[in-house]
Symmetry: C2
């Protein structure tokens, strides 16, 4: 059941649903106390949630006497979400519940550069297969989330001049996917999607967090005041094009200022290694060499961490996050990158900004992308106020 | 009238009140359409707003026939706010309405360094005088906002190690002021307060804005997603302690990395001028020399702008604001500082981040501080959800 404007959750009931989702099962009296609403108002609003299945009776609270009050709980199984994670060379499609738990998934290698139609055709077909395989009906689907490896204008869902995605510029991804499924299609870049997933799963109580992805490119997803911040044109978090002055770098990196991406990305480290007779081409090669303990890889990763740290020291002073999460394939090459980041950030940022700051590895694995894409949809459908 | 929890606006009615405040007078039918709520629900919620005086009948909508529908408007005169702006050497106390319009004001020179009790005793006495002079009753007061020239833990209202405020560290400003007025007392640093005021008055529709104050120190107030972002410990916006590498500066500034504040603040420019036989001591002296067109002041201001621009280029890539506002006394010395900022930011930040970016002077005058302090209270009292 949805209200007159086709919303899954009536605006009035959103605050109650949020309490059940984040705070666990509650009695009507507890909800009245927490919201400051009259008990009768709480009951009326719960009706809609109960009849839609989003809330369910959850037994009784233990009580020392008399009839125990009934608990109501959020029911993440009530609906499903399709999540699509497209990278430069991979695609993952998953069906999740309203908590982001993956019910069914399908993945394959693919080339994003082959263009939007073949890539999205596969994603759409895979989406139909995971929906069928899991035995869920089309009517249970509330939305589709898509993460892409390039800049996206989030409001419209259009990729904007994505450097590694020929043919995708301004391609109507929501329209193309939406023809097959009559639900909202939300699109964002992979870094924002990863930030949403990491925040929701690992750091749900943290209000200020920066997620940095270091792989073929370098970008950040910014959570401030508990919300993902995309900026005025959706380009917030562009760390890759911040210029790093050469004096901060070891002489081996040249004597010119350079973009962070030209210093600390996977291909930049690979090129630096190759010049020194340790041939490497991709982020993957760097990661594997780092994990093997290859001395040049370790040295390159450590310096890349310092270069990244130069930029993150400013970010930390500016945003005062309590957590900086480093993810992406280059970050999976052991502790070397993170050690360089920590060395510079703890040395340079102000004591007030670093005294409660954690700099940690991402905990999201291969399913981090689909998880984040699902969370993007869940937050839109369940949380966002209509007015 | 307030609800059971002592709130001025019942949680249910906040969205309606926000629409009236930002969108102008509306009929009940328009409010129902905008909120998706039933007409009867809108009428019920308006009751509370009308009886408290926050909303008032505003005549009829023009109509081509039949009885015209009645308009309802926000009534900023319904309550008053006390706003206190304390600087290193000045104090301003104002009484404002719920739109931030100043009804009565009192100001004086003072030394913040004389300690919290004499300074706050003056502010409290002045607050009582402006309240009396304006003929408003104590019962009409909804809150007090205080801006201080140093770091403040906003949640508690306590100054934390403020460098130019001896005796103020962890002094209970809300408790001391609150003994005289039975309303909430909100405290924040002057830069956040100025950012709130500038945003509310000059850029109300901008969601992403950075306000930079350049005077004795350098700091920023960050508006992201339409809200002031204070960070995890309240220290967000600390630009003054970002390190600027020496290669970016002209040789005259030395060959060492330095904090931005040591390069581009009023005292830093004054010291640089003094070394070159153009004696200057304070931000005020620099401003006056700049306005006179003193060549050394012009040169120092331009270079300070470039140094500030180095840091702001990163800020722009990171946050993708549509407006950067430069305020503070040093920024009032003509166009020189701003010219240096623009030269570097437009040269260095990415095209996507700068294509719709305005870098402008602050339009807030001497009353910017009290205006922002009032806005801080108004937003808390009228906007913030209770749950």
């Amino acid at each position: 059941m949805s209200d007159a404007r086709g919303q899954l959750v009536a605006p009035d009931a959103r605050a109650l649903l949020r309490m059940l989702r984040t705070g666990g099962p509650k009695t009507r009296a507890q909800l009245a106390e927490l919201t400051g609403l009259a008990r009768s108002t709480v009951s009326a609003r719960l009706e809609g949630l109960l009849s839609s299945g989003l809330a369910v009776p959850a037994g009784d609270e233990s009580s020392t006497g008399g009839r125990p009050p009934a608990l109501v709980a959020f029911n993440p199984a009530a609906r499903v979400v399709l999540a699509v994670d497209l990278g430069a060379t991979h695609g993952v499609v998953a069906l999740t519940d309203l908590a982001g738990s993956i019910l069914h998934t399908e993945s394959r290698e693919l080339a994003i550069a082959s263009g939007p139609e073949p890539v999205l055709d596969w994603a759409i077909a895979a989406a139909k297969r995971v929906l069928t395989a899991s035995g869920r009906a089309r009517t249970e689907l509330v939305g589709i989330g898509v993460g892409l490896p390039g800049p996206v204008e989030h409001a419209s869902g259009l990729p904007t001049n994505p450097p590694i995605m020929p043919g995708w510029n301004r391609f109507d991804v929501p329209g193309y996917v939406g023809r097959h499924f009559d639900v909202p299609v939300l699109v964002d870049n992979d870094v924002n999607v990863l930030a949403l997933g990491e925040h929701a799963v690992t750091w749900p109580d943290v209000t200020d967090m920066v997620f940095v992805k270091v792989s073929t490119g370098i970008g950040a997803g910014i959570i401030s005041g508990g919300r993902l911040q995309r900026g005025a044109q959706g380009s917030a978090g562009d760390l890759g094009h911040v210029r790093v002055p050469f004096t901060r770098r070891t002489p081996q990196h040249g004597a010119e200022d350079a973009d962070l991406e030209a210093l600390a990305s996977g291909p930049a480290i690979a090129a630096w290694m190759t010049e020194r007779d340790a041939p490497a081409l991709t982020s993957q090669d760097v990661m594997e060499a780092g994990l093997r303990g290859d001395p040049l890889a370790v040295q390159g990763l450590r310096q890349a961490g310092r270069d990244l740290g130069e930029v993150l020291a400013t970010v930390v002073n500016l945003l005062n996050p309590s957590v900086v999460v480093i993810g992406g394939s280059v970050a999976r090459a052991g502790e070397h990158l993170l050690a360089g980041v920590r060395e510079v950030v703890y040395g340079q940022s102000t004591p007030l900004a670093t005294q409660n700051l954690s700099i940690v590895h991402s905990r999201a694995g291969a399913t981090g992308g689909v998880l984040g894409a699902a969370i993007m949809v869940i937050q839109r459908v369940l949380d966002e106020a209509s007015a």
